[in-house]
């Protein structure tokens, strides 16, 4: 069955995590998920704009949602923070802000109605695992994968309602469907530190080093994240985290779509695996 979504890439998939966009689109095509990019989408605010200018952030996200509604599709994003910001905006609009914000949207010929749901690539892949698992061409048997959910994938539960925030299983479901083996680390549901990497740099480094170190100690071949912001933090800053803490440094971090792409036989060049700071070469030799 073909599924069709209004695709919200978010700023990072358009820049430093371009490989996640390539992998997402390649995997979606392979699995019969049609992604139509929302024309004119803007930054979700990433929680930063929300801090200093809540109204601007809410209006921008109402516009993003209204653009998707015009396409008659639900929204899919492959970024947990984008998902949280868009879903939070949806909740605020539902709880009394809709008419005021619609007055602003009207100036651009738009209207927010509240018809489009916002989902995450992870949720779609987990919910449809039984459907696509038979398409796995190269089961990743013997590959040990430590899922790192990322805070905004599951919290707060009032907004991120897809599964239990205490005991989520979606990542394990996808890993198992790829034929790989999930490895549990204590940081599985913890923060990567990305949102405070500038004002609380040492905290962010400690968090990054600790996740990378645990994955290594548990014998994982890589960390796996459904969020490109977690990926940036865990991969791009891992050398800095190692320099300040002496821990981590050589744990590859894969985007969710890259792992699925490897399993369903997407050509490796299309998965952007050479764009990582920590080389995934040892892991790839096992796939």
């Amino acid at each position: 069955m073909t599924r069709k979504y209004a695709f919200f890439p978010g700023c990072v998939l358009d820049a430093a995590a371009r490989e996640a966009r390539d992998a997402t689109q390649a995997v979606a095509a392979r699995l019969g998920i049609e992604l139509v990019e929302i024309p004119g989408w803007t930054c979700c605010g990433a929680s930063h704009v929300q801090d200093i200018d809540r109204e601007t952030a809410l209006a921008a996200n109402a516009r993003n949602l209204a653009l998707a509604e015009r396409m008659g599709l639900d929204v899919l994003t492959a970024c947990s923070t984008c998902a949280l910001m868009l879903r939070t905006a949806r909740a605020e609009l539902k709880n009394g802000r809709k008419s005021a914000v619609n007055e602003a949207l009207a100036e651009a010929g738009l209207e927010y109605r509240g018809t489009a749901d916002v989902t995450h690539l992870l949720w779609v892949l987990a919910d449809t695992a039984a459907e696509w698992a038979p398409k796995v061409r190269k089961p990743l048997s013997g590959v040990r994968v430590a899922p790192f959910y990322g805070c905004h994938t599951v919290r707060p539960p009032e907004i991120m309602t897809h599964e239990s925030h205490l005991n989520p299983r979606s990542m394990e479901t996808v890993i198992a469907a790829c034929g790989a083996q999930p490895v549990t680390i204590p940081e599985r549901l913890k923060c990567c530190g990305f949102h405070a990497v500038f004002p609380a740099e040492s905290t962010a480094h400690n968090m990054t080093a600790s996740a990378a170190d645990s994955a290594r100690k548990e014998g994982a071949d890589c960390l796996l994240t459904p969020c490109p912001l977690c990926h940036m933090q865990l991969d791009m800053y891992q050398p800095d985290a190692r320099a300040t803490t002496g821990k981590g440094g050589d744990t590859p971090v894969l985007h969710l779509a890259q792992l699925v792409g490897l399993a369903v036989g997407v050509e490796r060049e299309r998965l952007g695996l050479s764009r990582h700071i920590v080389s995934p070469a040892p892991l790839l030799s096992k796939c």
Binding site: T42, D51, A108, F198, P199, S274
Partner: protein, 323 residues
């Protein structure tokens, strides 16, 4: 008969151990009722605090499988279903010093709470004789924050606090500061915000644990956000936190999308970007995360504005006018 086991973290002031207590499953019990039953029937030395049994006094918060709950307001059966197992690990709140078993030390937390300057410092027009009235609408703006029962659940899994207590505060302290700062009767909002600014207001990592764990559905992370907004609006815009947020807003307004090349110099200054961050930038070039030509273009020019940028700007302008 189904048997439930509580593996409880014990501490007697010097020695720590985990002790398992098994008991028959009886439907409809709270976690607190289970603890009381263990104390009454198995081990009178088991130490925990509780008083109201009605989610009001805030005394009974403990961790179940690593996650804070109010023991009197949490049904055992819900936990068994959530975790899919009949053994639960019970521990004292995280990020607190333990006094004995499940009892934690609040003294040091209350001392830190003073940094919020809790208490109403009313505007001059109010007096003891004339009163200090507030419209229902203004009270509504801070009503949620007044539901805080100081149970400590929001602090237990705070990821920033777990990394360091020296440069951050318990989430409830931010909530208390915010409820006075945003009180329409307050003479000086910044009286409450300043202490927060000096103690980690911009260091919250946005892990959302506080908003997830509060049994009263308070969101300390939102109180942090609102005080960040107040501080910025009041001119306290220096530092990497406010500058980082401002950079996102500037990009949203200018082109609709983030310019990640300008983000670091805007946040930390050009000098830091060119020196301290140089190894990072070179790594990005080397691994193809960022193209050199692309970086030069983004630095001197910008992203192309998104389709419909005029509409976006009109929308933002309208919201500003309306506010």
């Amino acid at each position: 008969m189904r048997t439930i086991t509580f593996a409880i973290d014990r501490f007697d002031g010097s020695r720590s151990w985990t002790q398992s207590f098994a008991f028959d499953h009886v439907p409809g019990m709270t976690v607190l009722a289970c603890l009381i039953r263990i104390r009454e029937t198995q081990d009178p030395s088991l130490n925990f605090t509780a008083s109201c049994r009605s989610a009001i006094c805030g005394a009974c918060a403990v961790r179940v499988n690593g996650n804070a709950v109010l023991a009197c307001d949490t049904m055992l059966d819900d936990l068994l279903e959530e975790w899919g197992q009949d053994t639960l690990r019970i521990a004292p709140l995280g990020n607190f010093t333990v006094i004995s078993d499940l009892v934690v030390n609040w003294d040091e937390k209350i001392e830190r709470l003073r940094l919020a300057r809790p208490g109403l410092h009313a505007r001059a027009e109010f007096s003891a004789s004339g009163g200090c009235r507030q419209s229902p609408r203004d009270f509504q703006a801070i009503q949620k924050q007044w539901d805080c029962i100081l149970c400590g659940a929001c602090a237990s899994e705070c990821n920033k606090l777990a990394d360091s207590r020296a440069d951050f505060l318990e989430p409830f302290t931010f909530t208390h500061a915010s409820r006075y700062a945003r009180d329409s009767r307050s003479a000086d909002s910044m009286l409450h915000v300043n202490g927060m600014l000096d103690n980690g207001l911009w260091k919250c990592v946005h892990c959302m644990e506080c908003a997830t764990k509060c049994p009263k559905h308070i969101q300390p992370v939102e109180d942090i956000a609102s005080m960040r907004g107040m501080a910025t609006a009041g001119g306290r815009t220096d530092g990497p936190g406010p500058r980082h947020a401002q950079a996102f807003r500037t990009d949203l307004e200018n082109t609709g999308r983030l310019n990640e090349v300008k983000l670091v110099p805007r946040t930390e200054g050009l000098l830091s970007a060119a020196t301290r961050r140089l190894p990072f930038t070179l790594r990005m070039f080397a691994r193809g995360k960022l193209g050199v030509g692309e970086a030069i273009h983004l630095f001197f020019a910008d992203n192309r504005p998104v389709e419909g940028i005029d509409g976006l700007r009109k929308i933002i302008r309208q919201r500003r006018r309306d506010h």
